[in-house]
Symmetry: C3
Subunit: 292 residues, 3 copies
């Protein structure tokens, strides 16, 4: 693996290798890379957990992190993504982690660039490092993906998490279902009532309602979304005893999930964040070693 | 000490311990912590000296500083302070330094969070690290607080520096007085003329007129404030020979203090900045060790 | 050398010393400074390559880089440059790298400040580190400056690169000519047609059209500028076989230079970026050692 752009490019073998390395790091193993690498994080959209998680993971893999302030870079002067990344290559950067508004921004980086590119979210496209940490969280819980019922709830059509996870989980043998209002399903087939998915789900994966992407229908108040599609205490009680709750966060409390459930026993929401550091260490190590 | 939130929580013993450690660091002693800690600085308001001072102090205590860009974090998506800090905890952050607009923002961090919280300024509330460096500056100068006349001048009611210092200095035995226009005194009793405090003050502590908080009365021009409440060369000459001038900075030159006095012999304004690094090293070390 | 403010202050000997050290670093030599220094980069204008290049160079010289977010500093509260830099001095910063909008902002730092100041661009003034990396690029190519025909093309009057380079190249023995529209020449004498300079130039140095500084005449469309003053494939073919193309970047593709020429064989545009790191290592090392 020389880049991480989309889950669609990864074989099951590559996915499982990353999950194995994440496990090793969680067990205290030290990363092994041939030298100290220089990396930069180019976040053109706000982020706390993804950016901070990569910052931590990169340092734990022994990288030097060169600060890059996207909002104060030459990108605001209209510099192309290619020229920005090529510039960083010439400065001595070995890998860039990029979040950008544009779908598949990375296509212009596939030729002429000798820096590793790790996609930390492209528009309404993919979010592979989030997907891999979700997979790690599920594997840690159940040991396998085979036959698991995973229900993804929310704005499927605009969610890069939904797309990345649906692709990968299906390839790994899980049974992926969607639950959402009719006009949020996009190209996917979806359920529209909890009744059909609540009791046999092994994983309920809630998606963030992205107010900042203006995707909430005007006909939906927060309250009515919560009532129809939110995970309420009453619904939580009907879940399988072994089932878990996931959410990529940041959570809109009392919208996607009742405030009191965010840290309930079956919630893995904050554990996902912890798992993210191990997973991103695995991603960074794998890609840097893939270029040695 | 497991957090530093407000001077009201600190005993004299705790205060004096921090001042002692600051002294030791100024004398070249090396900080001693059990391991390398990860810290993050969450500044939701502009700052040069407090943020940079903590950045330096943290590195001198051997911490790894993980960058956090408040203006580009998930806070702008409406994430709660609790969720932001809990996320950082799961990523592996051991301590956060926070400056925020909201008074006592830290109340929502007292339960469920296992990260040390150091308050670097909460709204119009407290600014304990500034207070401690002011105390360090005074102690270094006079050896004691007992019986010192300390006059705090400016917008008392909106100043977190005034509140933190008034509380602490009184507990330590100093005689604290306020000088300000009538409607800036808040709940405090204040003098309104220099005549009553100028000649017997050991410390004159000027507060910044916070244009950016819109606290200057419309009836006051900068010139008239300077004339009535500013420290002018004429007033400086009337001060006790051993008296010192302090200001938390940034200074509005020719408003709170005449331009030519900012670096005069009895000014400790820039020394306060230097003392701030030692004091913050003491704070960071004390809190990290308090959790070992 | 204790500061680097303007090329006008540098003797040929000082320039050549920096170029020699840059060469040594490119050949793998290790920087030698007496201790670990603390530096801060104060960029009050957007920048990718200059800021990132200094960040990398400083680390390679063994410095600790203390982050400074200009847009979120006390400067937005109206703090003067003097007070900001004096504050950083008291915090323990040894050198600052500054980019600012104001011409010769550094004049207020010449007295009372004990921090090294490296000018990374002042308004429409100078940009000495860019100049030095350009000189390094030329010397690496031709071994000498003597008698070289260097043609600088673009908005001469507003360009700090043009001014810095014209001064230095002439002192070093090169023959500097300008090519630009009549009203962009400022105080310089300039050619207005490629015919007079294209075929005998050893170096064609293109300047960025600074849309963000509103310097493009309203009478010029991008297309007409490209046609009259841009480097087109047809013009490139008429260049001397040994001649090279330079540009400080970011490039406006198809304005100053045809898209397809940016990485052509005689282009040194991205090599300039690589050379910038070695040159800035030399600058930082020279100035820190100059103060030991």
């Amino acid at each position: 693996m020389k880049n991480l752009l989309s889950m669609e490019h990864l074989s099951n073998e590559e996915i499982l290798h990353i999950l194995d390395r994440a496990k090793a790091f969680e067990n205290g193993e030290e990363p092994k890379t041939a030298r100290t690498y220089n990396v930069a994080n180019l976040f053109f959209e706000p982020s706390t957990r993804t950016k901070t998680s990569f910052e931590m993971a990169e340092r734990k893999v022994g990288c030097t992190v060169i600060p890059f302030d996207a909002g104060f870079s030459s990108a605001v002067k209209g510099e192309t993504m290619y020229d920005t990344v090529k510039t960083l290559e010439m400065i001595g950067i070995d890998a860039v982690v990029i979040r950008a508004e544009e779908d598949e921004y990375y296509n212009e980086l596939l030729e002429g660039i000798n820096v590793a590119v790790i996609n930390a979210g492209d528009g309404a496209g993919q979010h592979p490092s989030q997907c891999l940490l979700d997979l790690y969280t599920i594997k840690k819980e159940f040991g396998t993906f085979d036959g698991l019922n995973v229900t993804i709830v929310g704005d499927i059509s605009h969610s890069r998490v939904a797309k990345s996870n649906a692709t990968a989980l299906a390839k790994l043998g899980a049974n992926v279902r969607f639950l959402c209002p009719q006009d949020w399903a996009g190209d996917f087939e979806a359920y529209h009532s909890w009744d059909e998915v609540l009791e046999d789900s092994d994983v309920i994966m809630l998606l963030r309602i992205q107010h900042e992407r203006h995707t909430v229908s005007k006909s939906f108040s927060k309250e009515s979304y919560h009532e129809q599609y939110g995970l309420t205490p009453k619904r939580e009680k009907m879940m399988k005893s072994s089932a878990i709750i996931m959410h990529p966060a940041p959570v809109n409390r009392d919208v996607e999930i009742a405030d009191e459930l965010v840290e309930c026993e079956r919630s893995r929401i904050f554990q996902q964040v912890r798992n993210g550091v191990y997973t991103r260490m695995a991603i960074v190590e794998t890609i840097l070693k893939g270029r040695e």
